[in-house]
Amino acid sequence: MRLRQLSLDRFGHFTGHALDFGDAGERPDFHIIYGPNEAGKTTTMEAALRLFYGFPHREPYAFKHQRANLSVSGVLEIDGETRGFTRLPKRSGALLDASGTVLPEAALAAHLGGLGEEDYRNLLCLDDDTIERGGEEIAQARGDIGRLLFSAAAGVADLTTVLDGVREEADAIWAKRKTKTHVAELKRELKDIEKEIRERDVTTSAWRGLKKALTDAQAAEATARAARDALHTRAADLAAHRRALPLLAELDALDARLAPFADYPERLEFDPETLVTLKTDQTRAHADTERLRTEIEDLAARQEALVLTPGLATLADDLDQLEDLRARDRANALDLPRRRDQLATAEAAMARAARDLGVADECDPQSLVPTPAQLAALEAARDRLRSARTAAQAEARELADATDRRDRAAEELNRLSAQTSPEADIGAILARYEADTLMPAHATAQQAITAAEQSARASREALATGAVRFESLPDCPMSRIRAHELAEAYEALHRKIDAESTALAQHQEDIAARQAQIDQLSRDGQLVPDDAAAALRTARDRQWQAHLAAMTPATAQDFAAAMQALDGAQEARITHARDLGQLRQIAQARAEAQARADQARARMVEYKAAQAAIEAEVDAAAKAAGLPGPLVPAEWLDWVDRHAAAQAAARAANEAQDMHGATLARAQALLDALRPQLDLVFPDVASAVAAARRLAESELQARRAMETAREALRLAEADLSARARKHDASQQEADKAAQAWHDLVLESLGQAVSPDTLLAALDPLRSLATQQEKRAEAAQRVATMERDQALFAEKVAALATAHDQPQADTPADSFELLRAASGAARAAQEQADDLGVRIATARAALDEANRRLTEIADTVTTLGRAFPSSASVDTLDALRATAHRAAEIIKDRENLSALTRRIMSELGVSDLVTARARLDEASLVSLDAEAESCKADLDRAEQALTDATEARVTSQQALSQVTGDADIATLTERRATLELELQEAAQAHLELSLGHRLAEVAIRRYRDTHRSGMMAATERCFAALTQGAYTHLTTQPDGAGETLLAVDEEGTAKRVAEMSKGTRFQLYLALRAAAHQQLVAQGTCLPFFCDDIFETFDEDRTSAACRVMERIGQSGQAIYLTHHRHVVEIAQKVCDTPPIVHEI
């Protein structure tokens, strides 16, 4: 499937933007989408993915168009057919065909190779981040081929992180002999809980034992308690007998004592204590009668002795009414002189103030006192006048200062005008000749000409050979090409001669060696060589002919000898047939070597002749050029090269002169123009321009100083006129204030006071006002006091006359005399009243005492009737004695009955007769003995009971420990939870560990399946990417795995760990390209997107990467997104068929 068209109808910041990828055609399907940053390259890729897979729920590209309005459409080539699709962000009906008909999701999904969106991104979208992580993965996987191939093919860039993560997680849960794992912790916890359960729990059987122990202890305790209680009873019984025995004796004695008083009453009807009260009352009544009679007489005598004057009693009220007036009179006597002094002082002060104001003596100071409003108005007017005058003075000073400044500025301007003289304007000359641009150009020109000339001279001097020097450039009689040919031919001949001489030496060695072998084989003589055999045969034949001819015994003998020699030789040859064959071969070889040596010699002669011819040609040319001595062709070639360089340099020098002539001429003209203005003898252009620039600078400064002085003068004059205006205004203000002051004084004080005097001092006027107030208050006080004094004297005199009392010197003393007389009269009257009351009270008390005495006598008579006639009851005292005895008798009777009850109670019997019977036999001694024995028994029984109780309590406590609380149940539950946790942990560990194990094995299998295909593809791609720096990829077994090695052009194998980061990126890219190829091979051909992955690549790597993209484009659609113009340019340059560039 490929993209024919992609339209971003409404997506990202695009509206109706379309990309046309055109027909696939024959060319590689490689596209570059170029646009500056933020132009929307990535948006384009995302749009394609939206078209394929729909819009996500949270769409980051819905910033311009709302998500509901987004729309992406495209034309896809599917199996040779073109089909249009539109994608909308809807839940259903999100995919439409070109006519707007809703398509099922499968209509498009079926052509996406079963890849989900994430898969597509992982496998077919590459960006620099992926490349970076892929490069890291290569380092982390330590070259493990399985992981590398799988990682690239699956698009899982951090495979090792994933796998190692799984292993680490598994180990954190459980690992052999590790104590920090989750499982180890859980086991520790479980152990603790089990220990706690063991320590705290009570089993059912133990519990049963405890219950039985308690039952036994309870029974034992009950028995002990019963025994002890019985002994207690016995002991108590004995003690009761012991107590009852003396009581019985006491009872009998009391009985006898009561017998004579049987007729006394059973109980007294009255309390004997009443008789004591009666006796006390009687005694007190007698005493009171005596005392009261005496007191009454005494009081009557005192009453009669008193003298009373009732007339003076009313005087006190009149005096009280005068009390207020008297108090004022006392205060006035102290205050009046001081007030009179105050009045006099105030009047004197006012007279002094009037004098201070310059008023005539006859004038009343009081007429001059101003009102507060007048005084305030006067003060304000005076302040205004004073400040107006101060301001006028300040303005006058400012005016003088401004005038002074103006004068100084005018003077400065005159001074500068005198100094400045009109001169030739050097600046204008410099500008006219454009000195600023001309000078650098002039310097460059001079530099260039000098350099070119130096170069020409140097290259000409380089032509010198031996003693020969060239002042001018000589002609070269031979072209460089011919010289080169000659040198090369000469060199070739030289090499050939070397080769032939080496070959000749080799051949000669061969000849010598073969000869040595022949000699060796022939040396022992057993071997008859062919020629020797032939010689023997010839000798035999000759002897035969001789013999045949002669037929003599001599010839026969000779023939026989020859025959024998030949036979022996033949025999030997047959015996040594193998050696003989060898000998023949060696001889053959020696002959061949000889032939080769001869040929080599002939060729060497030929080559040397050719060399001589070349040398002759070179020599002739050198002589023609004027060079000394024979030169080898290489030297000649070198000279010819140097000559060519010298020629070029000479040409360059001439060109430099031509090029810069105009600039030099302009510089000369400038110099001519400046020379008359300068005080220089032999100026060159640079020094002249420098001097001229200094002059121009000083002219400019002088002009600026003049400008500044003029401006200063103008400002000073303006300031002066402003100051003058302000001065006039303040003067007028002062005059106005003076007039106002004058008018106000006249209005307030009339002619009496002069305004000028008042202006100097306003204080006397203020003092006049203050003293007037004091004077008025003092005068008023004095008058009031004198009035009060007169009134008091009048009233006191009237009272003295009315009551006929003498008067003293002052009214105050007379008042005191009257007060004393009134007090004495009132005291005598009060004493008389008091005595009267006390006499009446004493008489009443006397009557009461007499009545009480009569009453007591009656009571005694009544009470006496209760007793027998024999008893004495006549007087109160006799009655008391009789009553006392009766009370004692009654008490004894009660004691008797109490004793009886106690004895019966102690012995537990109901009547005294039984009690007497019980005690009949008993004696104190026998009872004591029995009690002692009982006490000893009781101690033993108490101890037994205590022991039994302790035993019972212990058992009870032990049993009570077994409560129904839930702590053991809770612990058991906790144990169950921990067991479950352990179970879960074991399962989790095993899942991870087995999963990891499976993945490792599966990745190895994957490697074995895909190694050949993917490795070859990766190798090709990697070699291309590294431009042949690495030519092969190879592998090396490493335990169960296999690691990847890259072989460089020198044949050195390199581990991935040793590669640079950039090389690892390239390797990852190569792996991904191979993975893509594999995907295509499997029939999944989908657009492949790369998002600016070459950012970190240098130019060479980028070129190579572009070629890789082109190759991907040969098997499917490759789309590269970039914002780098240079990447586009490189791609267009290096690809066989330039990619199609889409600019956005």
Binding site: P56, G116, L123, L159, T972, R1005
Partner: protein, 411 residues
């Protein structure tokens, strides 16, 4: 009118078994839940002034040995005694093996039927019959030990039985419902099966179920049965007893597009589960099913999701997560996926089946499980056959986990 309360299978002090109990709050709320459930039944007996409490076996748990269990029980029975309520009790298979049964001194309001079978008159016209287990096993029917029902009275029979039994389980006092119906009793107060079931209403054949479930295998709210006898006619109602209930639930997340959506769906679902609880607290085992688009990511992050779900469950205030099971699949379009990961998945599946791997896996499993305490060993590997299936299932799950991480890795 007479009221009688019928319960069974209390398994007093049998621990709750759930990973949810790792949560302290839940533990505090439901610890010793079997006790709390029994105490509730006693509360109801007292407040309803019942005439008797029937316990149809398995009062104790086979493994519980603590005297404290007995002490707790005695206290509860004393409460009934103080309220004048008699207790009728037959021993079940667990009671028969448990030493507490023999050690405890039951208060005098408890009538324990012996294994010979007998009857007791509860009221003028109401008789209780019962037969106890003599031993841990009762392979034969106990029906013939019951005395004949009393003519003209209401007869209630107590029996601990697995009824016809379930395949793969031992049978205990086997008999059929038809057998029971034919015996002439008015109410069969059964015990043994932990799930409540009313097998028949005339006569009544009632398995009340246990008062408190102990693990995720014993789901749902649990209860006792309250009988009301009026004029010889019996009506039955349920009395809730469980403190915490176990529940399983599954949620199809096919349409869920992203994490927030998943979280929302989970929150709503858990709230629904919580609302449906009858008990105060619930422990849920949640299974996610369906074909969500992000299934690889969900699988990859399953630990994190388990924690999120646990937190969401806690947020309901009454629900705790026992386990999150993720049984989701890839959407249909990915089935035919090409590519290396699919190939790797196929390879892993194939390798998992190979004997070589199986042997290595078994060895590893035995090593790890060998390091576990006995109880855990027994739970994971009860017998030889389990090792093989365990190896297979763990390897399969492990492969899925590793794949999820590869697929889910942001690549």
């Amino acid at each position: 009118m007479i009221r009688i309360l019928h319960t069974a299978d209390i398994h007093l002090d049998a621990p709750l078994r759930s990973l949810a109990l790792r949560d302290d709050a839940l533990r505090a709320a439901v610890e010793a839940a079997t006790r709390a459930a029994f105490a509730r039944i006693v509360d109801v007996a007292v407040s309803e002034r019942v005439a008797a409490l029937l316990i149809a076996g398995d009062l104790f748990d086979g493994r519980a040995r603590s005297a404290r269990t007995a002490a707790f029980l005695t206290a509860q029975l004393d409460r009934l005694r103080d309220a004048g309520i008699p207790v009728f009790y037959i021993k079940g298979n667990h009671d028969a093996e448990n030493p507490i049964t023999g050690a405890i001194d039951m208060p005098d309001n408890v009538h324990l039927f012996d294994a010979r079978g007998s009857k007791v008159q509860l009221a003028e016209d109401l008789w209780i019959h019962g037969v106890s287990f003599a031993d841990r096993h009762a392979p034969d029917s106990l029906l013939r030990r019951f005395p004949a029902p009393v003519e003209g009275a209401v007869n209630i029979a107590m029996l601990h039985t697995s009824l016809a039994g379930a395949a793969g389980h031992d049978t205990y006092a086997p008999c059929s419902v038809a057998d029971l119906r034919g015996m002439g009793f008015d109410y069969w107060a059964l015990g043994h099966v932990h799930k409540r079931q009313v097998h028949s209403q005339s006569p009544w054949v009632v398995m009340p179920g246990m008062p408190q479930g102990r693990d995720i295998g014993e789901t749902g709210a649990k209860s006792a049965s309250l009988l009301t006898v009026v004029d010889g006619r019996i009506t039955v109602e349920e009395v809730p007893s469980s403190v915490v209930e176990f529940t399983t639930s599954s949620l199809d997340i096919s349409g869920v597009e992203d994490d927030d959506g998943l979280r929302t769906a989970l929150r709503a679902h858990l709230r629904g589960v919580a609302d449906a609880l009858s008990s105060a607290a619930g422990v849920v085992r949640l299974t996610l099913t369906g074909t969500p688009p992000r299934h690889w990511q969900i699988l990859r992050d399953q630990e994190t999701w388990a924690e999120s779900v646990a937190a969401l469950a806690r947020d309901t205030g009454r629900l705790w997560l026992e386990k999150l099971q993720i049984e989701i699949d890839a959407p249909a379009s990915s089935d035919s996926a090409v590519g290396a990961t699919t190939e790797l998945a196929t390879l892993m599946a194939a390798i998992g089946e190979e004997p070589g791997f199986a042997a290595a896996a078994r060895a590893e499993i035995e090593e790890v499980i060998g390091e576990m305490p006995q109880a855990v060993r027994a739970a994971l590997l009860p017998d030889e056959d389990t090792a093989e299936t365990l190896a297979q299932s763990l390897a399969k799950a492990g492969a899925r986990r590793v794949l999820a991480r590869m697929k889910g890795a942001e690549g």
